[in-house]
């Protein structure tokens, strides 16, 4: 129980003109018990030297809700106490002197239903540039069921995606076409055809493939769909390619998406940089048009990677599940891009589970009920190869798209061979796991055995056997093992 007392000034003194500390204005309420319908945000607050931590945390609550720098009498025309965000708990961050976890509750009426743009304009709108803070990071959010239910959620969802693709029981396999810039439409389609025929389920445009002088978007779409249909006929299996419809305007994006639809594509792709409103528009378009919607998280590391400042990717993942995309890049752990194993596990749970229990060691600070919102398929992409299949399956599970770009196209005997190597490695590992084998430890053995009847896998294992990316993670969870009182 919290032994601290509210120091909020009440009555008419509260509205005397002038400047008053945020913690006295009603933004610090240590005895407040969040309602089930409140949105809760957890910030990591690093005040400037000499700034009282409680005041800094109260200021974050104030500046992300109703406050301005001075008292205004017009507050009295509103139910001001309801609309004030309330910081109700402040904990020092373990092993990080000078930083504090601030728990802040927001009344549901502060937010427009079903709008990520509105939610984020409040929560991360002004407050990140607030001068009394050295740094500020949004670590996690608890989204109440009443609010979750105002969003469409993933247009397709993991289960229906699998039903449409007729692929069950194993991760899906993909590859990003490389080189990502410079190929003509005709050459680009060649890579798609080879990779899909060789055994991949999906190929993918990269984030910056839109419509450039070397390849305009119509050329790409036409040649890619020729490749998809050829590969489908050659294998009897459903195939797809993420056609990136990211463009300068909403009208351009709709035009490209409509063309993809007309050509029979089962999936289109957008980049995170198009913005939250555009993402929600495309999610609704995708639901209307039976289209899977892939999101490439282009740009996220500018604000997700540093522990002290920005927005954690787990929050972005939550927003994107609400916004309604079907695929999201969520880390590989073993590949070339940032990814602490426990933190990444937290992201994957947020994408795939119907209920996330609080799990501090995974960076998940709140129970989160998704209220049957569709599940979002995580995508693991960047510096992974067939030789890591046992680790990937162990760390990331079954409902994931494993994207081997270099690990397919860089195969010494060509793209089809690279694709086949990955598919055989994957199927062999699933077979062994289901048979009850200790596949994590016996992984290399299982792969070697499968390679006896699959030369492309043998060659892939030889080329990439020692490739790993072991660097210190910059974003591991700092958590307080037991709730503690502070300041």
């Amino acid at each position: 129980m919290n032994m601290q007392q509210s120091i909020t000034v009440r009555g008419k003194d509260r509205y005397k003109s002038g400047v008053m500390e945020y913690k006295r204005m009603g933004y610090w309420e240590p005895n407040y018990e969040p309602k089930d319908t409140d949105v809760i945000a957890l910030f990591r607050v690093t005040p400037q030297d000499g700034v009282d931590p409680t005041e800094a945390c109260a200021a974050v609550a104030g500046e992300s809700s109703t406050a301005t720098w001075t008292v205004v009498w017009t507050d009295r025309l509103t139910a001001a106490e309801k609309y004030r965000a309330k910081c109700y708990r402040v904990d020092p961050v373990l092993n990080s002197p000078g930083s504090y976890f601030a728990y802040i509750a927001y009344d549901l009426d502060l937010f427009e239903p079903g709008s990520i743009s509105n939610l984020t304009a409040s929560i991360i709108g002004n407050v990140f540039g607030f001068k009394p803070l050295k740094a500020l990071r949004l670590e996690d959010m608890r989204l109440p069921t009443a609010y979750v239910k105002t969003f469409q959620g993933p247009a397709t969802g993991i289960v229906v995606e699998r039903e449409r693709l007729d692929k069950f029981g194993r991760p899906l396999l993909g590859a990003t076409v490389k080189p990502k810039l410079g190929l003509s439409g005709r050459n680009y389609g060649r890579v798609v055809y080879e990779a899909l025929k060789g055994g991949l389920d999906f190929t993918k445009d990269d984030e910056n493939i839109n419509s450039q002088p070397f390849m305009h978007w119509r050329e790409r779409f036409l040649y890619c769909m020729e490749a998809v249909n050829r590969a489908q006929a050659a294998t009897g299996e459903i195939k797809g390619t993420y056609l990136n419809v990211t463009a300068a305007t909403m009208e351009d994006m709709y035009e490209r998406a409509e063309f993809a639809h007309e050509l029979g594509s089962n999936i289109v792709m957008i980049d995170l940089v198009i913005g939250y409103t555009a993402i929600q528009s495309m999610a609704k378009w995708a639901r209307r048009n039976n289209m899977i919607l892939h999101l490439h998280r282009a740009g996220h590391s500018t604000y997700t990677r540093q522990r002290s400042h920005g927005v954690s990717f787990r929050v972005i993942a939550k927003w994107m599940r609400l916004a309604g995309v079907d695929h999201i890049h969520a880390g590989t752990v073993v590949g070339k891009l940032e990814g602490d194993p426990n933190t990444t596990r937290g992201y994957y749970d947020i994408c795939r589970e119907d209920f996330n229990p609080m799990q501090l060691e995974h960076g998940v600070f709140f129970d989160q009920n998704w209220a049957s919102l569709n599940k979002l398929m995580p995508v693991a992409s960047g510096g992974i190869h067939a030789g890591q299949m046992h680790q990937l399956l162990d760390l990331l599970g079954e409902d994931v798209v494993l994207q081997f770009g270099g690990g397919t196209i860089g195969h010494p005997r060509g793209i089809q061979a690279g694709a086949t190597a990955n598919r055989v490695a994957l199927e062999a590992m699933i077979l062994a796991r289901n048979e009850g084998r200790d596949y994590v430890h016996e992984g290399p053995e299982i792969l070697a055995k499968a390679a006896q009847t699959c030369t492309p896998l043998r060659e892939a294992l030889d080329v990439w056997k020692d490739v790993t990316f072991n660097y210190e993670s910059t974003d591991a969870p700092d958590f307080v093992p037991t709730p503690s009182m502070a300041v």
Partner: protein, 141 residues
């Protein structure tokens, strides 16, 4: 060609012992195991014919292996697949699906293209075998 639908089509055909292990995996998860067959392998042919109802209450793979043997005796010239169905909330669909029997010859698919305006093409996939009536598609006459 080799139709690569299902979870294990890139591996050599599974032995009965391997199939039984996968079936047991499904049963241990509490999934209902289903046997289905078809002679139309079109990638979007969703509804293969069911060999009886999904086996909701079976707990031992041996029972399913006996059903599979019976199914093969009748439809051994066709595709047969085994699937595990999970009825739990939030999934309520197939969890694992793999081919356990194939025709001796798999003639594959023809891809038809219908040219349309603006260099657009409309594609259509036909299983060569499906040109013949059901039941005669993979027999030798």
């Amino acid at each position: 060609m080799r139709v690569t639908q299902g979870c294990f089509s890139f591996l050599p055909d599974l032995t009965d012992e391997q199939i039984a292990a996968q079936v047991q995996y499904c049963l241990d998860k509490g999934w209902a195991v289903n046997i289905e067959f078809t002679d139309d392998p079109h990638p979007r042919n969703t509804y293969w014919d069911m060999w009886g109802l999904p086996m909701f209450d079976l707990r031992d793979a041996a029972g399913i292996m006996k059903e599979l043997a019976d199914c093969r005796r009748v439809y051994g010239d066709r595709y047969i697949r085994i699937s595990g169905f999970d009825s739990s909330h939030g999934w309520e669909s197939v969890r694992l699906s793999f081919i356990v029997n194939r025709p001796r010859e798999e003639p594959g698919f023809r891809l038809d293209r219908q040219e349309a305006a603006g260099r657009n093409l409309h594609y259509s996939t036909h299983a060569y075998a499906a040109g013949r009536p059901e039941g005669e598609r993979y027999s030798d006459h």
